[in-house]
Symmetry: C2
Subunit: 222 residues, 2 copies
DNA sequence: ATACACTTTTAGCCTAACCTAAATTTTATT
DNA sequence: AATAAAATTTAGGTTAGGCTAAAAGTGTAT
């Protein structure tokens, strides 16, 4: 019964997936903000997603949506496309890591399974995109995702950057300049209680980062 | 005044360009057939293309459309994308020449100028796609296109294949099997008057081809 | 010059996805 | 428990781009 998912549909599924990582349902307002669409429009679309056959989402009026297994599969398929594309654009075509997101956002909807398979092979079946986000495998199993924010660390903890938020190009350019990229090792030297600034050592240098930065860096403790 | 051309708009412009190679205007019916859209819908769309600012087409009721300079630029931009993509998919990603058209048809609408520039560079600024079609250059100047059909040759003419029609995957697979690809040299040995069959020599072998094949192969005389 | 076939346009409808404004429901605060 | 604020849904509208059926225009063959 599943025909062809439109671009708008896929964007909604991806957004719902992203907002449901916590296991909770995604709210109309949060979806509206993330998709840059009026809340009323989101309600309308959600209702249609819930009425497809098979349904793509479960919807309880006034209580948000969650993905059905069908919807989640579709979301994972698109996320796989997105992250493989980002990796390909970065590693094979020389895009910088702040440019890949926007391009992948458009390409993810139109590439064939053949294209996906080709770049997956060329890249050697990568497991993470340039920002450290995990790439769902061929069976659409999503590896665990780093969820500890750098902002939660306190001296004298040490950590390795695992991934960074890829949605803000300006932030990405800043992070690259400071070598705040996946794989980098850092040691927490100090924490300022009121502004939340962290002083940390990276590559032998000391830098101070505010919460607007550390909130978007995810680490694993070293 | 022009913001962003929709996918449908770009498809129309490309089709009008293709149907106007002869210098004549494109008819409603021919566009409908090529785009797989009802003739009435084509009339509706054409009217809108003629009313954009600046106009993309010139339209005279009952007498077809032609591209304005603005429309032609837009068409050439898409054709450049299409042919660069076909070349990239073929040369760099290992797609066979009968698979590239369909994939490029979807990708051509979403790649950025950055993506275009990157693959153009990786490919070494190619001038022809895998089927021998010329690629408009960076200034959107379209090289001359081979227009002599193999079907018009008679013994004992000799020729080199310059390009083949890329719209039918089955034909392309057949042609490849017979080495009827751009660059191949052939000698006309015989012509059958009623069925139009041509007997020709290629790579030292003799083959007989009907008009359904020879009509879609374009050559330059050797 | 007329008649008929073919092409094209008009008229009226439809769907997907958006929008704003108004109504309603939920939730948070007293 | 009442009310105010915030979130959500409903109602009504728009635009792009399709569709079919019917009307009208064009060109050809007698
Ligand atoms: Mn896929
Ligand atoms: Mn990413
Ligand atoms: Mn371009
Ligand atoms: Mn081609």
């Amino acid at each position: 019964m599943k025909k062809h998912l439109t671009r708008a549909t896929k964007d909604y599924l991806k957004a719902i997936y992203a907002l449901s990582v916590n296991g909770l349902s995604a709210s109309t307002n949060d979806l509206a903000k993330r998709l840059n669409i009026a809340a009323a429009s989101v309600t309308g679309m959600i209702k249609r997603l819930a009425q497809t056959n098979p349904p793509l989402v479960d919807y309880r009026k006034h209580h948000g949506v969650t993905l059905t297994p069908t919807g989640e599969q579709a979301a994972l398929e698109i996320i796989r496309h997105h992250r493989l594309l980002e990796t390909y654009l970065h590693d094979s075509l020389g895009f910088s890591w702040d440019e890949v997101h926007e391009e992948a956002e458009r390409l993810e909807h139109v590439i064939s399974e053949k294209f996906e398979a080709r770049i997956d092979k060329v890249l050697g079946h990568p497991t993470h995109d340039p920002h450290g986000d995990p790439i769902p495998d061929l069976n659409l199993v999503m590896p665990q995702k780093a969820s500890t924010r750098l902002s939660t660390l306190r001296p004298p903890q040490e950590a390795i950057i695992e991934r960074v938020n890829d949605e803000d190009g300006n932030l990405l350019r800043y992070l690259q300049e400071k070598s705040l990229v996946p794989g980098s090792k850092l040691k927490i030297r100090a924490h300022s209680p009121f502004d939340g600034n962290l002083t940390l050592e990276i590559n032998g240098e000391e830098i101070i980062l505010g919460p607007a930065v550390t909130h978007h860096i995810f680490i694993k403790e070293a």
